[in-house]
Structure formats: C-alpha cells, structure tokens
C-alpha cells in the first residue's frame, strides 16, 4: 500500500517526537554521569553538559574512602539478601491457597478479604511507628525486613499466574496422592519461573529503593541502608569537608566538590538497577500483565 503524504509526514514527526521523549528520560542520567567524572571546579561553573569536563575519577575515589558509604552499602546488600528470599517464600505460600476456588478452599473468601482490606485501609504513620516500637524492632536490622515481608500486590500477581496453570495438572497430582505442599513446590513452582523471576526482581527493587524505614527506625547512620544514608546527603546541602575524615580524602578534595560527590553517589546507587534491568525488562511485561490487565 502506498503511503499518502500526510501519513508519511506523520510517521516522520512521530519517530522524532518519541525519540525526544526517550532523550528526556536518558539525558538527566547522562548529565549526572558527566558531572561525576568532572572536576569540582568544572562542575561549579555549570559548564558540564553531557560529556565530562577535565575528566577525573576523584569523586569516585573520594566516595570509596567514605566509611559510612561502605557500611550502608553492606546493610543494603544484606537487606536484599535476607528480604527478597523471604518475600518470595511468603508470596508463593500465600498465593497458593488464595488461588484455589471457593469450592476447593471454603475459607478462601475470608482470607481474600483479610489481605485485600490491608490494602484498602492504612492505620497511619503514627500508629504504625508506635506498633513497630512496641514489638521492639526499633534500631534492629529486621525492621527493614519484617514489616514489608508480605507485599500483597505481588501476591495478587502470583495468584493470578497460579490460576492459569491447567486444571488437569493439578488433578493429576491429586490423583497421585500429592498433598498441597507437594503440589505447590513440585508442580506450581516449576511452572511459574517467569512469574517468580518477576516477583524476585520487583522485590529486589522494593528493598534496594526503600529508604524511609531506615530513616524512621534506625538511629545510627552506619546501620541504615544506603538509600536512607543517601537521603540525608542528596536532599540537603552538606559540607564536603565534614565527609573528608581520611588523609586520602584530603588529597582529593581539591578535585571534587559537593556536586561531583553527590553525582558519583547517585550513579553508584543506580548501578544495581541497571544491572538487573535487562532481566527485569525481559520478564516484567509478561509477568506483570498477568496480574494487572486480567480484568
């Protein structure tokens, strides 16, 4: 089919417009990256665009010498290592009974409402804070894990995936005398790798990006996760001389400034997301839509 002139010109402008949108998402990050590799002097004059000026890795070396940065990075990795497997286990265990029909599991409605209601009504910040305080989790590592151990929205994604597993497979397992646990772990789980990958990646991001819990419940900055620490660095002016506690850092201080050090930390904190992003993208369109669009 021959394309008419208006259609051809629409196509041209459409491609150009979408290209601009993509740049709009990309350029801020490129700019941050360029600033982080520039000298403090170049950054302070506002001359850095999309390419570093007076290339240097001083800002990264400066950050690497910062003990608090390392301590909080370790806390962040620990919370991911402990939190994500627990999330996954609880999501799978919870989604299985809720994926049953009411005939198969008579109390299902009650539990569905129990989980649904927790999404509908929020007790509020202060009762939540006082509850966490009352159960003795303040200043404990587990305060970063337990309160968000059951992401109900991901349970819904998982259970909708479980419901698509052919009925024949379940019935065959039942005839073979498999109990619920065996059915779940030998039949459901191996068939749900795409959904499980999605849940793992989403939980990884949830844990990696959480900052408010650390800020709220953990007093010692060295025991906060990276994002909580970065919150206190990135969202207000800070004095770079106070961060320089180490002789190595004093040597670097003439090449860096507040801005380049902030940008270096922004970029480092984004690396894990970039690393898992290809996997995430492969899975999420498929895995997420089952939970969302089903309608």
């Amino acid at each position: 089919m021959k394309r008419s002139l208006p259609e051809a010109s629409f196509s041209f402008f459409n491609h150009a417009f979408l290209g601009c949108l993509a740049l709009l998402s990309l350029l801020p990050l490129v700019n941050i990256l360029a600033v982080s590799f520039s000298t403090g002097y170049a950054a302070s004059t506002g001359k850095v665009g999309l390419w570093p000026v007076d290339f240097t890795v001083s800002a990264y070396r400066f950050v690497m010498q910062n003990k608090v940065f390392w301590n909080t990075l370790v806390v962040a990795l620990l919370r991911v290592a402990a939190g994500v497997p627990l999330n996954l286990l609880l999501v799978i265990l919870t989604a299985y009974p809720l994926s049953k029909t009411r005939k198969e599991f008579r109390q299902r409605s009650f539990f569905s409402w129990y989980f649904l209601f927790s999404m509908l009504f929020y007790g509020g910040l202060i009762p939540y804070y006082l509850t966490v305080q009352a159960v003795g989790l303040v200043d404990r590592f587990w305060v970063l894990i337990l309160p968000i151990a059951v992401p109900v929205y991901y349970v819904i994604i998982m259970l909708n995936f479980f419901r698509q597993i052919p009925k024949e497979l379940r019935e065959a397992a039942e005839i073979d005398g498999a109990g619920h646990f065996a059915t779940l772990f030998r039949i459901y789980v191996p068939l749900s790798t795409a959904a499980i990958a999605t849940i793992v990646l989403l939980c990884f991001i949830m844990h990696w990006n959480s900052w408010f819990d650390g800020l709220l419940f953990i007093g010692n900055v060295n025991r906060q996760p990276l994002q909580s620490y970065l919150q206190s660095i990135l969202t207000r002016p800070f004095d770079i001389n106070q961060m320089a506690r180490d002789p190595e850092q004093w040597k670097l201080i003439q090449f860096v400034n507040e801005r380049t050090v902030k940008c270096a930390q922004i970029f480092i904190a984004t690396i894990p997301i970039m690393v898992i992003y290809p996997y995430l993208q492969k899975h999420f369109t498929k895995g997420l839509l089952i939970g969302a669009v089903k309608g």
Partner: protein, 306 residues
C-alpha cells in the same frame, strides 16, 4: 458438619501456608489500624499504645480543622494528586497510541526500554538528580533555558512553580512504565477490525482514531476509576524529599504535615494525637474512594482484585 470437618482435614496445609503472612499483616497492618484510637485521645507516648490514655472525643479533629493551615494543605494535596492522576493517564495513553504507530520494531523497543527506566529509580535518587539538573546556577535545565534566552527558573524554590515541578517529575518517572498497560490492551484488540477497515480505505490515523481509541477506552476508564483512591495521596516519598519551607504554602501535603507534626518534629513538641487525626481523615477518605473505585470497576468492568 462432617463435610466441613473433612474439608479442613484435607486442607490443613493451606492454613499452614497462610499462617505466616496472616500473622505478619496482623502485626504490621491490623494493629496499626486499631491504633487510630490515638486520634480520639490526648496521647502521651510514655503510657504506651493502647495504654491508659485520656479520651477527648472529637476534640483533636475540631482543633485540627480549625487551623487555616490544614485547609491549605488539603487543597495542595488534592491539587497535586488530581493533576498527577489526570496527566498520569493522558500522557501514557497518548504515548502508547504513538508507539503503536511505529512500524520499525527496533525503534519501538529502544524507546520503550529507555522510557521505562526512571520508574525503577527511588525518589531519593531522583530527588538528588532533580536538585542537580534544576539548580538555578549550575543545573543543565537552566543552562538550556539560558541558551534559549530565558531567565533561570528556581523550579524547587518558587511557590508558584513547585507543585508543577512535582507533577511533571512524577509523570516523567512513571509514564513510560504505565504505557505497558495500554500497549498490552492495544495488542489484544482484534486484528480483523483493522484489516476490514483497511479494505474500506481507512488510513492508519483513521484506524487509530476509530478502532484503537474506542477499543482501549474501557481500560482507560478502569484505570481512572481505580486511581480515584489516591486523590489524597500526593506522593509522600517524592514531596518529602523535594519540599522546603519556602514552598510550604503550595507544596506541603497531608503526609508531610503529619510527619513534621509528629515523628519528624524538630521542635520537640510532637503532637501525636493531632497528626493521627489528620492521618485518619486521609485514611478514611481514601478508604471510601478506593472501595468505591473497586466496586465500580467490579460492577461495570467485572474487575476482580482476587
């Protein structure tokens, strides 16, 4: 009776599976719900949650709503979240329709990959990025505006501009990811409609207008109805990180006010009861809105959460 007993005997593993999640939600979701009683007390933290507190009825609510500040904060919240919801639907919808017209699949995929990305970055990191690129002296955005001959704009420090900085940066973060939903809805439309329209001489734009648009209207309505529930949710994580006292008049929202009045209080006079009263107002309205949204979605689109 025996039927039910048999059922439980066969299904006991299901209860075991649910137990940990039920317990965790009980502690971290249901106990705090009961904790809203604080809003009706003169709460003294030393006496403990559910301790022997003095009951004051609706006094906290009366006091909170008599403050002029409260009305302003509620207005700010509704203003910001209304435009977030509106643009948060229109922008991804438009972009989905445009993406659908791209025939070069590598181009489409590349654009999608890039515009999804900001969704996965935390508001802490994005705030750091926004503070940097929007800075009036060294930021790249104002450098660009200067190149166009426009005076520097203090996006995060001008009360009249701040809410729109919040709205646009939120839309910027999320629109790409939200196109997934509309793109999926578009691909599910029956292809033969396009074929027969093509045979009748309809061009691509005509098809987009007359087939695609009405075809995905139901899912657009569904997202709009479900989004109603967040009308008092202007985005704590974002606003808390970006707001400063100079823009409180337009940028302070319910959640940031609650936090500042209570746990985040820097003056020492933490007002737990008053803050909980405002928080409960928000939770109550949100509850009604979300429930209504779900009910309408269920009634008219057969949408079920579980």
């Amino acid at each position: 009776m025996t039927g039910r007993w048999l059922n439980i005997r066969k299904n006991w593993p299901l209860f075991v599976m649910l137990a940990p999640a039920v317990a965790i939600l009980f502690v971290f979701s249901y106990i705090p719900m009961a904790g809203i009683v604080i809003a009706f007390q003169r709460f003294v933290p030393a006496k403990g949650l559910f301790g022997p507190q003095e009951w004051v009825g609706l006094k906290n609510f009366a006091y909170v709503f008599s403050l002029r500040n409260t009305g302003q904060v509620i207005f700010n919240t509704v203003y910001i979240s209304f435009f977030k919801i509106l643009l948060g639907i229109l922008v991804p919808l438009t972009v989905s329709l445009l993406l659908n017209e791209v025939r070069r699949s590598w181009y489409k995929r590349t654009v999608q990959t890039i515009i999804y990305f900001p969704y996965f970055i935390s508001w802490v990191i994005l705030s750091g990025i926004l503070f940097d690129i929007l800075s009036p002296s060294t930021g790249i955005v104002n450098s660009f505006l200067g190149w166009l001959g426009i005076q520097p704009i203090y996006f995060l420090g001008t009360a009249s501009v701040f809410p729109w900085t919040i709205i646009f940066s939120d839309v910027w973060k999320n629109y790409g990811f939200n196109t997934i939903l509309y793109m999926a809805a578009i691909t599910q439309l029956p292809q033969d409609l396009y074929e027969s329209a093509g045979m009748d001489g309809a061009g691509r734009l005509r098809c987009a207008w007359s087939i695609t648009m009405p075809g995905i209207l139901p899912i657009v309505m569904l997202t709009a109805v479900l989004a109603m529930g967040s009308i008092l949710n202007a985005g704590f994580e974002q606003v808390y990180n970006l707001v400063s006292p100079v823009v409180y008049s337009t940028g302070d929202i319910i959640d940031t006010l609650v936090f500042r009045m209570s746990i985040g209080s820097t003056t020492g006079g933490a007002q737990y009861s008053l803050a909980t009263a405002i928080g409960l107002f928000k939770s109550g309205v949100s509850f009604v809105m979300i429930s209504t949204g779900y009910y309408l979605a269920y009634r008219f689109a057969d949408y079920k959460v579980f």
